[in-house]
């Protein structure tokens, strides 16, 4: 029940803002805030990563650094290559060429499971809750270095029972924080879309990651649950984790991100503080097209969309 507390239909609609006042981390970069600028303490450094699908260049990132201990947002219009970049960095896809390092160690060519073991854990745009496993089993699956995950040691429960109990306690603690503890024995398939997002995030935390990569954590989540998700993301930072997330919701980006990286057509076109970066002409070009201020006549549908997008961008500056 507690998990649904925020879903009371009688409650007045609230804007999706975190309940706590986010403490912004500043002074992350060295020199001008321009695409590919150096960071004081980068955790992830990407160099010349390129991925083409036939004739289409989906990702062509020359150089970008993700600051440690901060929340970084990766934004950009649809088709900018954000999710493809995520897949490349986490080993779910192979680039045509390029190198990238995590905590100083090269990840190029490393399979996804080893990337995850190094502490760089991701979630998916379309949630991947393991439906016919219980919520608790979903959580336990996230724990690292389990003795009982070897087929032969699995036969001897006394070898892994103690570790299993520890993981179970840790999972229960996380589930309580995410308000899913009352659901622990239900199939994950019985959770709502938002609860699955929460479960996926909680599951990722079971492995004590250093970098959490969230692919559109807010997609398909109702506003009431958005609020608690925002709080959880801010908590990750206060616990010392680094967060990199893809998001379309500009409100959320402005509220919680310490740094914003803007992609368009596969390239990083702008970087900076969330409030500054929105004023960057390259960002407005990316979202609205280069000729947004010229009258090109008829296309009234596109015109309305442009107005909407401009309002979105300028909203936060008021």
């Amino acid at each position: 029940m507690s998990a649904n507390a925020g879903l009371d239909p009688a409650a007045p609609p609230e804007p999706p803002v975190p309940t706590q006042k986010p403490i912004k981390t500043t002074g992350l970069h060295v020199g001008e805030a321009e695409p590919g600028c150096r960071k004081v303490d980068p955790i992830l450094v990407v160099d010349k990563v390129r991925r083409t699908f036939g004739g289409l260049t989906a990702v062509d990132v020359d150089h970008v650094e993700v600051p440690r201990g901060a929340i970084t947002a990766l934004i950009g219009p649809n088709g900018a290559g954000k999710t493809t970049l995520f897949n490349l960095l986490t080993g779910f896809d192979k680039p045509d060429d390029g190198t990238w390092t995590f905590n100083g160690r090269s990840l190029a060519g490393m399979p996804a499971y080893r990337v995850a073991r190094m502490g760089q854990i991701r979630t998916f745009q379309l949630t991947k809750a393991l439906g016919l496993l219980t919520v608790m089993d979903n959580m336990l699956l996230g724990a690292k270095g389990q003795t009982g995950e070897n087929m032969f040691r699995a036969l001897l429960p006394f070898l892994w029972r103690h570790q299993e109990e520890e993981n179970r306690a840790k999972a229960l603690d996380l589930l309580t924080r995410f308000k899913l503890d009352s659901k622990k024995d239900d199939y994950a398939a019985s959770l709502s879309g938002g609860q699955r997002k929460l479960l996926e995030m909680a599951r990722a935390l079971m492995s004590d990651p250093t970098l959490v990569m969230l692919d559109e954590p807010m997609a398909g989540v109702n506003p009431a649950l958005t609020q608690s998700l925002l709080d959880h993301i801010l908590n990750l930072k206060s616990q010392g984790m680094t967060v990199l997330f893809v998001e379309h919701d500009m409100h959320m980006v402005r509220h919680i991100a310490d740094w914003v990286i803007v992609m368009a057509e596969g390239k990083v076109v702008a970087e900076g503080d969330p409030h500054e970066v929105m004023k960057n002409p390259a960002v407005i070009d990316a979202y609205l097209g280069q000729h947004h201020d010229e009258d090109i006549g008829e296309d009234s549908d596109a015109e309305t969309e442009h107005v909407f997008a401009i309002k979105e961008l300028l909203d936060g500056e008021r």
Binding site: P111, A112, I121, D137
Partner: protein, 326 residues
Amino acid sequence: MDWGAIFNNAAVELISPTTAAYALAALGLAVHFGYTGLLNFGQAGFMALGAYGYAISILTFGFPVWGAFLVGIGASIVFALILGIPTLRLRADYLAIVTIAAAEIVRLLFTTNTFASVTGSANGLSGYKTEFAALNPLAEGSYGFGPFENNAYDTWLRIVAWSIVILAALFVWQVMRSPWGRVIKGIREDEDAVRALGKNVYAYKMQSLILGGVFGTIAGMIFALPRAVVPSNYQTTLTFFIYAILLLGGAATVLGPIIGSMIFWVLLSFFSGFISRAVEAGWLPFMTTIQGGQLRFILVGVAIMLIVIFRPQGVFGNKKELAFVR
């Protein structure tokens, strides 16, 4: 109509070695399909490797029983590696196509005349039972009661066959409630999610393929011991009978394949006895006894259809799971 004989013959199948063999092969498929989500349509190939591996080792190379047993298992591990290395990185349906083709290749290799001196070609192999019978600790005589009364060799075979089935079932039960089983079931649900949590999905799928394949291989040996090894026994239909048993009992269960196999064989024997006597008694005037022999498969098919329609999770399956089938 001799109902007593019909029921007696049906009861014999309850603990026959063939039932044990099908139960074990279905347990292997439960590991593949029910728990891991691997679509293995080549279980007949694994069984053929077990039967031929055992028979050829004894007849051609004069190996002892345990040596022949290990040869069969070794052959199935190699077979699983050959199947798995190229296909387990791909989507599940590719494994289905490759396994069904590979099982046919295995059967045709055993059928071809080129290797007739070793495989006996289409006539198959026989005369490999003495080594197994020599291990029999039971004295001559008959054991059991009623329909379950057998001579010393048949009793020995039943004891060994069902002991192996029970050990295999305990193995699967224990391993599936461990963290290893949790990873395996996670892979069935969504392998990318499991990969993102730092598990080597490819290695787990390979272990599952080998484990279920080895069960199929041992099942092939048990299947061969009461009869001769004939290549036509290992056609694709064998795989589909085993799938029928698995779905009948419940795909992701331990007891399901075993009870499913018992139900399948008792029904098959009952219908076969009933139809042949009904034809003799003139109840089915439009039918010859040969046609009657085929009708039993139709009736078993109908019985299985009814179970799948009215109890789709199988006898032991969890009804709750079906509520969320995508």
